[in-house]
């Protein structure tokens, strides 16, 4: 006899949202969490980093006060208080999830779960935090166990909490390092680089690919690197790290770029070279779960090869983003409950909270070309946008990509202040299957930075107004 209709393993933004939706659909639901409700996102990822980055941004603004005609004496950044604020924000979010679980009558089982063979779904054996073990059986089980920072032991890139940090250590520094090397220029790497640089740390980012933020459009990579360099961040691109060694005094990294070897040294180094799925810690092998390089192989609704077992979020593959996990969780649970959702395909946007910010959705110009979409591309820089000039936020631009044959909006790429808050305009447009005409005919409020989104759509068809 099943104890529950559904057990969700992992309470990150994939798992806890899936549990809420399941409860809304009338499923008797339990959620298993080995550490903190809300998972990495709320406790050690998205949210606490945003708190740090906001502090960094505020501090950075202080050095430009004169630009705005104001002055203050001796701005100071107190790292301890900045970190304490970040932890407080995380704590608040974590309690919020606990409240939501209670409100939706979802039983929270605190402990580490492993799967064992069972029917109609695998059994879930939980090693309880409070001690002891509890075995629970449900009709369906959703794996939402997430992922963790990827170490590369072959070159010595393994977090030790002292000289080599992963995101956890980087979130709670005890003191501000004087200098720092960041290995990897994806979102996590450049966000930490941005924060520590804002507080005055000497930061060098090392990227193996020939451009930074490699998933972004090439133009964004180029402009972002320039913007970061203006703030004093240094970069080594196309650089392969061959060895990371640490000493009492700090770390040194050997790298090779363009056939030349170089050694960089700093107080600490942050490893930001991707993630590994946590599937190795839940007994995937015991139930014969099929994996692909550590990630669960899933069908369109998160189905796995094991009857009754589903997987969503980071542990089921890229993109490794909280909102993708939540979306998959909802979709999966609706499928389990037999709820027929309408045919809507929403793209997954990516947001990076550096100074300036990066936001993008859909295809890059190059991807569109490679797919033979004969893209029509429009651009608009913020430096000629009235609101941006007034706010002193003239860095960056908006770039849009339309399908040349159908006029469908297929991609958007932005660099600039608060573009992470603007991108959803394009996400909605793509979801509603908008064409250039819809975006061109939409009335954008003035004065806003979002007017640049309108202009970019006009520019793609030679109709730009303010250039």
């Amino acid at each position: 006899m099943a104890d529950f209709d559904l057990i969700v393993i992992g309470s990150g933004p994939g798992g806890y949202v899936a549990a809420i939706r399941a409860s809304q659909l009338g499923l008797k639901t339990a959620i298993v969490e080995r550490e903190l409700l809300g998972g990495i996102c709320l406790n050690w990822g998205c949210i606490p980093t945003k708190a740090l980055l906001k502090s960094g941004e505020v501090f950075e603004k202080l050095s430009h006060l004169a630009d705005y005609g104001v002055s203050a004496s001796e701005p100071k950044a107190d790292l301890e208080k900045i970190v304490a604020r970040s932890r407080g924000v995380a704590k608040q979010m974590n309690s919020g999830v606990a409240f939501l679980m209670k409100k939706h009558k979802i039983e929270v089982i605190e402990g580490a779960a492993t799967l064992e063979k069972g029917s109609p779904a695998p059994k879930v054996v939980v090693k309880l935090k409070a001690g002891g073990e509890r075995t629970v059986q449900a009709k369906s089980v959703v794996l939402a166990v997430g992922a963790r920072s990827r170490p590369i032991p072959q070159i010595g890139l393994e977090a030790d909490g002292e000289r080599i940090w992963a995101y956890r250590e980087a979130l709670v520094p005890k003191s501000l390092p004087k200098s720092m090397l960041v290995v990897g220029s994806g979102a996590i790497g450049v966000e930490f680089a941005s924060f520590y640089r804002a507080l005055g740390c000497e930061v060098t980012v090392i990227e193996a690919i020939d451009r930074i933020v490699p998933v972004e459009d090439e133009e964004v990579s180029k402009a972002a690197q320039k913007a970061f360099e203006r703030r004093g961040i240094k970069f080594r691109v196309g650089a392969k790290v061959t060895k990371v060694s640490k000493s009492k005094a700090g770390v040194s990294i050997d790298l090779e770029a363009g056939g030349k070897a170089e050694t960089l040294t700093a107080d600490v180094c942050i490893a930001a070279v991707g993630i590994v799925a946590n599937t190795d810690q839940v007994g995937a092998d015991k139930v014969g779960l099929e994996l692909d390089r550590g990630h669960v192989k899933t069908g369109p609704h998160g189905e796995t090869n094991v009857p009754g077992l589903y997987a969503i979020g980071d542990c089921a593959g890229s993109p490794w983003l909280a909102h993708k996990a939540s979306h998959e969780g909802i979709h999966c649970v609706e499928h389990i409950a037999g709820f027929k959702s309408p045919n809507v395909h929403s793209p997954i946007a990516g947001c990076t909270y550096t100074q300036p910010q990066i936001a993008s959705v859909g295809l890059t110009e190059k991807q569109a070309k490679d797919q033979g979409r004969e893209p029509k591309v429009g651009r608009f820089p913020f430096r000629v946008n009235g609101k941006a000039v007034a706010a002193g936020e003239i860095e960056g631009f908006v770039k849009v990509v339309f399908d040349g044959k159908t006029g469908a909006l297929i991609g958007a790429h932005m660099l600039g202040a608060e573009v992470t808050e603007m991108i959803q305009g394009y996400v909605t447009a793509i979801t509603l299957e908008a064409t250039e005409e819809d975006l061109q005919s939409t009335v954008y409020p003035h004065p806003t930075m979002s007017e640049a989104m309108h202009e970019a759509a006009l520019d793609a068809y030679g109709r730009v107004l303010h250039l």
Partner: protein, 424 residues
């Protein structure tokens, strides 16, 4: 608890009739078991169970017409996979809960057709991209079922329609304007036939399809007939020889099989006749997929001999017999009667001398075959007797002009009058 849904038996199927239930509440079923028969516009097909379990309830009674695809038609009890169910408290308590919100929130299927009303001021809900793709492909949004929120037509619906061949609007080039106004139909009473003086037989899927497709074709395709006489004494002699040879194998080649073979070969000799008109260009078909009209109870259906030009007479005879038999028992699969490039209709067995069939869109022509009978003929100025058969080719003038149709009939005639040439 699992719902059994109305299946889509072909990519374009939107609804069907529930012809017959083979199970009743309380019956145990297992995967693969035939549980019902569904009548589509063309055929009756069996529905096999996917899951095992026990039928809890029949939701759509036998004989119901117009059941939309994906409508629940029956419900299974609990899941049979679970070990010996104790008095199933849990499932009972939970299942209805799970179902309720779904009912409350799911877009009502009924709202879709309502939303997609059309020109008379009411709007069709479709995404901007869907509208543009439909316009580019020359598809009529009215004919497309929306799968988006509240029945909104989205890109994938148009993509599906383009692939699955939803009818282009009548005058394909200009979808919006060319769609002719539906004809005003007076009631029988208005036309002087007293109520009660007749029985009304409800329209089934096949009758509706015949009515719609042939009305569209006859009205919109510029068609003309070409008639020619064939002497088939040579054919009859060849057929007698061939059947004597094949007797042991139990295959019997009919005159119509010769007609199928000869028409397929003639289509290869005059490929312009093996073509379809589309707004984007003339589709020149690679193979002669010859459809043969088969009269069945309540209508007719046209199963297809694929790549007929590549097949021998014995093979054609076997296939045509099998297709005709299965057509009559309504056991054809959609792919067996959808997508021919040419049709042959034969009413010779009823003594019909000649007739002109209506084109089966999108085919470029259809051949109507009359009876083979002894008739007086004049040969070299002398009256003689020959077995003569009259065939009529109805051509779509947009693809098959008079001369092309005539060339085809010439080729067909020489093949059929001298069947040995079919061996070449």
């Amino acid at each position: 608890m699992t719902d059994i849904l109305m299946p889509a038996l072909s990519p374009t199927m939107e609804e069907g009739g529930l012809a017959k239930w083979h199970v009743k509440p309380g019956d145990k079923i297992e995967p693969g078991q035939v549980i019902a028969e569904i009548e589509t516009d063309k055929a009756t097909m069996e529905v096999e169970a996917v899951d095992d379990g026990e039928i809890a309830e029949i939701l759509v009674p036998e004989g119901t017409q117009g059941v939309k695809v994906n409508t629940p038609i029956a419900r299974l009890k609990g899941d049979a996979a679970a070990p010996a169910p104790k008095p199933a408290e849990a499932p009972k308590a939970e299942a209805p809960k799970a179902a309720e919100p779904a009912k409350a929130e799911a877009p009502k299927p009924a709202s879709a057709p309502a939303a997609a009303k059309a020109e008379g001021g009411e709007r069709i809900f479709a995404s901007p991209l869907a509208r543009r793709l439909a316009a580019q492909a020359g598809l009529d949004l009215k004919a497309i079922k929306g799968s988006g929120p509240h029945g909104r037509i989205v890109k994938s619906d148009v993509d599906g329609a383009a692939k699955g061949g939803v009818a282009a609007p009548a005058g394909a080039a200009q979808p919006a304007k060319a769609g002719a106004e539906p004809r005003q139909v007076l009631s029988l009473e208005q036309m002087g036939i007293a109520p009660g003086s007749y029985d009304l037989v409800p329209l089934d899927g096949m009758r509706r399809t015949i009515a719609r497709r042939l009305t569209d074709s006859f009205r919109d395709v510029p068609h003309f007939p070409l008639t020619i006489d064939l002497e088939i004494d040579g054919l009859l002699a060849a057929r007698a020889k061939l059947n004597a040879l094949l007797e042991k194998s139990g295959v019997k080649v009919s005159v119509n099989d010769f007609v199928l073979k000869a028409s397929a070969m003639a289509l290869k000799l005059v490929p312009e006749a093996n073509a379809s008109y589309t707004p984007d260009g003339i589709a020149m078909h690679h193979h002669a997929d010859v459809a043969m009209a088969v009269a069945i109870d309540g209508g007719l259906i046209t199963p297809i001999i694929r790549a007929c030009e590549t097949k021998g007479l014995a093979q054609i005879a076997k296939e045509s017999k099998d297709l005709a038999e299965r057509a009559r028992s309504r056991k054809l699969k959609p792919e067996e009667f959808q997508g021919g490039t040419f049709s042959v209709s034969n009413l010779g067995m009823f003594g019909i001398k000649s007739f002109a069939s209506i084109i089966n869109e999108p085919q470029g022509a259809i051949m109507s075959v009359g009876v083979g009978e002894q008739r007086p003929v004049v040969k070299n100025g002398v009256l003689a007797v020959a077995t003569v058969m009259t065939v009529t080719l109805t051509c779509d003038h947009r693809v098959v002009d008079g001369a092309i149709g005539a060339k085809f009939l010439q080729a067909f005639k020489s093949l059929l009058e001298d069947p040995v040439t079919m061996l070449a």
